[in-house]
C-alpha cells in the first residue's frame, strides 16, 4: 500500500483527543491515537475499554476524550462487552434495522493487567467465538493504575510494589507470560506484536490490517510507563527504541500461521542498554548481581531465536 504516514497523521483528525489526563511520557495515548487513525474516516467505531489508566483518565464524567462511541464496564470484560456490541451490530444489520452501507468497527483496549491476567478468559472467549473485532493490549508490564503491582506481563527481576526488590528476594522471580503466542494459538486471522512510539509505521500498518481483516484480531503493543519503569518522561522514544533494538520486544505478525518479523535490528544491542535507564531494574546492576543480567540476556536470546526459527519454519 502506497501512502505517506506523515500525510496520514496530518490529514486524519485524531479520534482520541487532547484533554485526557494520562501522564507525560506515557506510552499508551499515542497507541490509541495511532490505532484509531487507521480507521477509514467514513467508518464509525465502538470502543470497549477495560478499567485501567486509559479508562480512568479519558472518560471522567461528564468529559470524554473519545470521539467515537465508547463503553467501559469493568476490569476483566472489555472483550466480552465488545463482543456483545459486535453481536448487536451483526443482528441489527441482518434484520435491516441499521443502515446497510455504513460500517462500524469494534476495538477493545486493555492494559496488561486487564488482558494477561484478570481479562484473559474474557479475551480468549471472544477471540474463539470469532467476533469481528480487534483487541488491543497496551502492555506496560504491571498494574500501573493501582500503583505498580506485578502482573504476569512484568519482566523477571522487575521491582514492583508487590514484587519489591528486597534483601532476600530480588524483585519478580517469574518470567513474563507470552500472551502474543497464546493468541497465536487461538488460530485467529491476525495476531501482531508492535510498539507505540518510535515505529509508528509498524503500529499503523498492523492496526489497519487488524481492523480491516474480517474476524478477530489481536495486537500486543508495548506502552512504556515512566512511573512504573522509572525513566525520565522525555525518554519515551528512546526507551521504545531500546526495547526493539535489544530484541526484548520483537515486532512481528502472524497471518494464517505464517510468522513475519517486521523489524530486525541491524545490530542487536545487549540487554543492559534497555535495563539500565529503568529504576525497576536498578538492583540488577549492583555488584554480585551480574547473574541476573546474564539470565535476562539468555532468556531474551532464547525467545528471539525461537521467533527466528518460527519465521523460518512457517515460511518454508
Amino acid at each position: 500500500m502506497a501512502y505517506n504516514l506523515k500525510e496520514v497523521i496530518a490529514e486524519k483528525p485524531s479520534r482520541f483527543t487532547a484533554g485526557h489526563r494520562m501522564c507525560a511520557g506515557c506510552g499508551a495515548p499515542p497507541v490509541a491515537r495511532m490505532i484509531l487513525r487507521a480507521l477509514k474516516p467514513e467508518d464509525h467505531a465502538v470502543i470497549a475499554n477495560a478499567t485501567g489508566c486509559m479508562e480512568v483518565s479519558s472518560f471522567i464524567y461528564p468529559y470524554t476524550a473519545w470521539t467515537d462511541s465508547y463503553i467501559h464496564t469493568a476490569f476483566e470484560c472489555a472483550a466480552a462487552t465488545c463482543s456483545g456490541a459486535e453481536a448487536a451490530y451483526k443482528s441489527l444489520k441482518r434484520q435491516g434495522k441499521i443502515e446497510q452501507d455504513k460500517h462500524t468497527k469494534f476495538i477493545s483496549f486493555g492494559g496488561d493487567g486487564g488482558t494477561y491476567d484478570i481479562g484473559l478468559q474474557s479475551l480468549s472467549g471472544a477471540m474463539e467465538r470469532g467476533h469481528d473485532m480487534v483487541y488491543v493490549c497496551y502492555d506496560n508490564g504491571a498494574y500501573m493504575n493501582t500503583g505498580i503491582q506485578r502482573s504476569s506481563a512484568t519482566p523477571k527481576f522487575a521491582d514492583t510494589t508487590t514484587s519489591p526488590a528486597g534483601s532476600v528476594i530480588p524483585g519478580k522471580m517469574q518470567s513474563r507470560k507470552d500472551l502474543t503466542e497464546i493468541m497465536v494459538s487461538h488460530h485467529i486471522p491476525y495476531v501482531a506484536q508492535t510498539i507505540g512510539v518510535n515505529n509508528f509505521k509498524d503500529l499503523y500498518e498492523k492496526a489497519e490490517k487488524a481492523i480491516y481483516t474480517e474476524g478477530p484480531a489481536f495486537l500486543n503493543v508495548l506502552a512504556p510507563c515512566p512511573r512504573g519503569w522509572g525513566y525520565p518522561t522525555d525518554m519515551l522514544m528512546e526507551i521504545n527504541k531500546l526495547a526493539i533494538d535489544t530484541c526484548y520486544w520483537p515486532l512481528y505478525e502472524v497471518v494464517d500461521g505464517k510468522y513475519k518479523i517486521t523489524y530486525k535490528p541491524a545490530k542487536k544491542l545487549p540487554i543492559e542498554e534497555f535495563l539500565k535507564p529503568q529504576k525497576r531494574f536498578k538492583h540488577m546492576f549492583k555488584e554480585g548481581n551480574e547473574w541476573m543480567i546474564k539470565e535476562f540476556q539468555e532468556e531474551v536470546d532464547r525467545r528471539w531465536q525461537e521467533l527466528l526459527d518460527l519465521e523460518e519454519i512457517t515460511n518454508r
Binding site: P62, T64, I71, S83, G84, L92
Partner: protein
C-alpha cells in the same frame, strides 16, 4: 384465540423468548436454567428467530455481552441460576447503573456452598439491592406471562432498568403443566419495537457509556436509579392492565388469596404459593380464617400496598426460601415487617426460613405455620420471631 399447550417452566420461558425475538441472547449453561439457552439455540439454528446467539465462556461474560449488546442498541436477554448469577454479580450492578433494560430469566437455585443444584431463593436474594426489577412466578404460566410483560416495563422511559423474572428451579422449571400461550403476532405487537433514544451504534450521535463517576455526580446518578425504581410500580400495573385486555389474565404487584376476611396470613413467593393456596382452602373448610399474600413484584418492593393488604389480619408469617444469616430473619420478612411498621400495621409477624437447598415443603408443614399463627393470636405474643420450617430434628 390463545393456544393451549403443555410445557415445562423452562420451555415456557424459551417459548416466550422465541416470541419476543430479541436481537441478542448471551448465555452460559448452568442447572437448572440450562434448557432455556438450549431450546433457544435450536430456534436460532433453525432460523425461527432473528437473534444473534453468543455462547459465552462464563456468566460474567454473558452479562458483559448483554451490556455491550443492549448499550449498542439491541434487545438483549439471558438466563441463569445460582452461582451463574453470583459470577455475574459485578456486572449486574453495572447493567442497572447504565440503565440498560436487559431481561433475564432467573431459575432459582441455592447458591454454593456447599454445592447444591436444587431450588431456593438465595441467588435472587443476593442481588436484591442491585437495582434490578424482580418479578416472581408461581407457575409456568406466570413465568411465561411475566416474560411477555418484561420488556414493556424495563424499556419504559420512566424506568429503563434491567429486569429478572424468577421461577423455582426444578419445581416449575422442569415440571410440565398446562399453559395458555399467546399468538405470535399478538406477542409481537404487545412487546413492540425497541427504539432506544441513545445507543452506541448510532454514528450520528456517538456516545460514551460507563464513565469514571466521582464525588461530584455518582450520588445524583444513584438517586436517578432510585427514582426509576419507584416509577416502575406504576408502569408494572399499567402493563398488567394491557396484558389483561389481551389475555384476560390479571396481575398486580402481589396476589391476595382469601385475604379479605382472613385473621391470619402467610406471605410467600414463587411455587410455595400453590401449596399454600391448597392449605388455605383446606383450613377454610374447617372454619379457620386463613389467607395468603403472594409477592409478585419484589423489586420495587410494594411496602405500602402490602401493609394495607394485611391491615385486617392479626398475625402474619413470612416465608423466606433463603436465610439471610443475619441473626434476625429472612429478607422478605424484613421487607414486609418494616413496610408494615412504617405504615402503622401492628399485627404480629414471624419469620420462617424454609425449603433450603430444595428441601421439600409439604402442605402439612404449611398447615403447621397457620396453627402457629393461631397460637400467636391466642397468646398475643411472638416468642421466637426467627424460626425454621422443615429442619431435620436429629
Amino acid at each position: 384465540m390463545s393456544i393451549r399447550e403443555r410445557l415445562s417452566g423452562n420451555e415456557a420461558a424459551a417459548t416466550a423468548m422465541k416470541q419476543i425475538n430479541p436481537d441478542v441472547v448471551a448465555a452460559f449453561p448452568i442447572t437448572p436454567s440450562t434448557e432455556i439457552p438450549q431450546y433457544f439455540s435450536t430456534f436460532v439454528s433453525n432460523g425461527t428467530v432473528d437473534t444473534e446467539f453468543v455462547a459465552v465462556e462464563s456468566e460474567h461474560s454473558a452479562m458483559s455481552a448483554c451490556i455491550g449488546a443492549e448499550a449498542a442498541g439491541a434487545r438483549a436477554m439471558t438466563a441463569t441460576s445460582a452461582n451463574g448469577l453470583s459470577l455475574m454479580w459485578e456486572m449486574i450492578y453495572i447493567a442497572s447503573s447504565l440503565r440498560l433494560p436487559i431481561v433475564m430469566s432467573l431459575v432459582n437455585r441455592a447458591v454454593s456452598g456447599p454445592l447444591n443444584i436444587h431450588n431456593d431463593h438465595s441467588d435472587a436474594m443476593g442481588v436484591r439491592d442491585s437495582g434490578w426489577l424482580m418479578l416472581f412466578s408461581e407457575n409456568n404460566q406466570e413465568a411465561y406471562d411475566n416474560l411477555i410483560m418484561a420488556h414493556r416495563i424495563a424499556e419504559h422511559k420512566d424506568v429503563l432498568l434491567p429486569l429478572m423474572i424468577c421461577q423455582d428451579g426444578f419445581i416449575t422449571s422442569h415440571s410440565i403443566e398446562n399453559i395458555e400461550l399467546i399468538e405470535d403476532e399478538n406477542v409481537k405487537s404487545f412487546v413492540g419495537k425497541y427504539e432506544p433514544k441513545h445507543y452506541l451504534l448510532n454514528d450520528k450521535e456517538p456516545m460514551a457509556v460507563g464513565p469514571m463517576d466521582l464525588q461530584a455526580y455518582l450520588f445524583e446518578h444513584k438517586y436517578q436509579q432510585a427514582e426509576a425504581m419507584k416509577n416502575a410500580k406504576k408502569v408494572i400495573l399499567e402493563v398488567a392492565k394491557d396484558f389483561e385486555k389481551m389475555t384476560g389474565r390479571k396481575y398486580g404487584l402481589f396476589e391476595e388469596y382469601k385475604l379479605e376476611d382472613a385473621e391470619m396470613a402467610i406471605v410467600c413467593m414463587n411455587s410455595t404459593a400453590g401449596t399454600t393456596k391448597d392449605v388455605v382452602d383446606h383450613l377454610r373448610q374447617k372454619g379457620i380464617k386463613a389467607g395468603m399474600l403472594k409477592v409478585r413484584v419484589y423489586r420495587p418492593f410494594p411496602a405500602e400496598e402490602i401493609a394495607k393488604a394485611l391491615s385486617n389480619v392479626k398475625a402474619v408469617a413470612v416465608l423466606d426460601k433463603s436465610d439471610s444469616l443475619n441473626g434476625a430473619g429472612g429478607a422478605l420478612f424484613e421487607d414486609v415487617t418494616s413496610g408494615m411498621y412504617i405504615n402503622g400495621n401492628t399485627a404480629k409477624v414471624v419469620s420462617y426460613v424454609y425449603g433450603i437447598g430444595g428441601r421439600d415443603t409439604t402442605a402439612k408443614e404449611i398447615e403447621s405455620v397457620y396453627h402457629d399463627l393461631e397460637d400467636i393470636i391466642k397468646s398475643n405474643k411472638v416468642d421466637n420471631p426467627y424460626r425454621y420450617l422443615g429442619l431435620r430434628k436429629e
